[in-house]
Amino acid sequence: MRRHWGIIGLVVALGLGIFSGQVASPERVQAAEKTYTIAMDTTFPPFEFADKNNKRVGIDIDLIRAIAKAEGFKVSLKATSFNGAVQELQANQVDGVMAGMSITPERKKVFAFSDPYYQSGVVMAVAKSGKVARLSQLRGKRVAVKTGTASADYANRIKHKYGFKTVTFDDSNNVYQDVLSGNSAACFEDKPVMQYAIATGLGLKLGKMKMAMANDYGIAVAKSNPVLVAKINAGLKKIRKSGEYTKIVEKYLGNGSQADTDKKAKETNDTSSSFFGLLQSNSQTLLAGLGETLQLTVVGIICATVVGILVGLLGVVPSKIAQGVATTFIYVFRGLPLMVLALFIYTGVPMVIGAKIPAFVAGIVTLTLNEGAYTAAFVKGGIGAVDGGQMEAARSLGLPWGKAMRRVIMPQGIRIMVPSFINQFIITLKDTSILSILGLMELTQTGKIIIARNMEGFKIWTMVALIYLIIITLLTWLSNWVQRRVRA
């Protein structure tokens, strides 16, 4: 019995090693360089978006860079969802959020804000050809808004008065698509953003409604970081005075009229909107996204397989404690939805441990735990499926449990497990798309960003889907080849 403790100890040590090693590294990076990480929305043009060369551009991006330059600090920009950005700031994963974020009393309770840098307000947009144009026509209809935004607040405030229901999305593009597809009758959005989207050729028009909730955009910073607020405010003053501020805003919105915005939007967008034109102009970005996806997949598969095999073995060790640990691991991590687990690790855990976890690491840990639990389940099952007489025969010859397991049971169990492993690899590849919630620039997130710019949802998602299918086909071929070799 005693030797089994060795195995348990090894597994526990390995698990701790993974966690401590990964949590420690970002701290070192932080201390080495005085760089502030600012989280941004991925899809909030003209404040932040990717241009036709897939360079991340926008009013927010140019402004924060100008401010940083004026004040002599460095910024590292991180694209995620608006909601994700706010959560990351709360979890101290980033130093600030700049995402066309309205300064509201509620938010001021949680964060410190810079001086206002842009005045905006909420407008309504409706389908170009639709009948709905005013608020009074929304009774009984659906209205799309983006999670956690001022527009969403506004919609919720007036929905009882006008009798509509709200539906929320994480991306602006999904908000607009919901109106275009007719699922929602209208959407609420910040005025400059809506103007810019319409200018890119989106089939929506502004509804007949006065701009509501005139509000100011500010940069949110943790309350514990007054130094950064002061730096930002000083920098903002400097660039306003030098005229750089006006230059930046006009670069994207012209003089503020719809016509001028139209012109500016064309300059940043894709030249061809045919399938192959889009494929050509976005191929580099899509390949980069694919690279990230493959990296997540390969590292994820390796970690999940190692952890899965160890936990699976723990589940067959003749010790109640070991089996309990394995069963609990499988129960918890197989039971949790992948997205909940990812958000828990990325934005939940840092609040408790007080250290940042990089998105990639959080993604790998998520995959390792979730896919590892599934792997552990079939490893345990595969070993259990080997005839019990095999273990008895091996032990009767005087072989210790470990040797019998390694030489007799495992080789037979692995044959049983091979199809499950292949299946799990494919699932892991697909599951990486869920990690786009962490702002990882993998294939799905890349698709979202491209669409946020050009609104070509159908064509871009077709490309993304095809890329996934091609990779999965290749993976299946490879797996079948391995399977034939193992079974031979």
């Binding site: 007489g389 008895e392 025969a393 091996a394 032990r395 009767s396 005087g398 030489r407």
Partner: protein, 245 residues
Amino acid sequence: MTTRIEMKNVVKKYGANTVVSGVNLKVEDGEVVAMIGPSGAGKSTVLRMMNGLETTTAGEILIDGIDIAKPHVDIDKVRAKIGMVFQHFNLFPNMSVLGNVTLAPTELGLMTKEEADKEGRRMLDSVGLADKVDAMPSTLSGGQKQRVAIARALTMHPDMMLFDEPTSALDPEMVGDVLGVMRKLAKEGMTMVVVTHEMGFAKEVADRVVFFEGGEIQESGTPAQVFEHPKNERLQSFLQKVLEA
């Protein structure tokens, strides 16, 4: 004469269910003991307790003087000296015949690969399977498999052999080959405990026959005593049934 196996008041319970109740049994060096009795009598359980495949609820099981019923016994060391042959052969399907036979001595560091190969071939030859050295177990007949299983146990040079219904899963025409090997072993002086339904074999080869029923030894004696002059009523009716069949 030295005592190889000694069971003292051995009890085995599964929960509230008692399968073996107070068995006392001694096996001397070189002795061949046949255990007979109806299914569910506890004879296989008793056999499996002799090498620790079944835990013991109460009592002592002394193997060459070591009580393996006690916790913290180095059971692997004891098992290395006891060969075990199963009803369903339990050959390792992922290894060749020679691989099956040489695995334990090489893994346990008792022989080098070359020594084990040589010894394994010798043992396979002694059970009449010299030509099957490189075959995979799945290509063998039941009788051949069981003879490989015996060779596998013998390559470890055991001091005693346990047989758990070694011929029950075989086609009738295969039984003779396996019993032939066992007969030869007995003649060479191997200590053997055999759970069997082959009354002819028990009569001919065993030094002593032990009759089990209801988890207890009902009668024990020479084959002549047990088969010709059974005293126990249950033994009488058991013999009547098997010999009629």
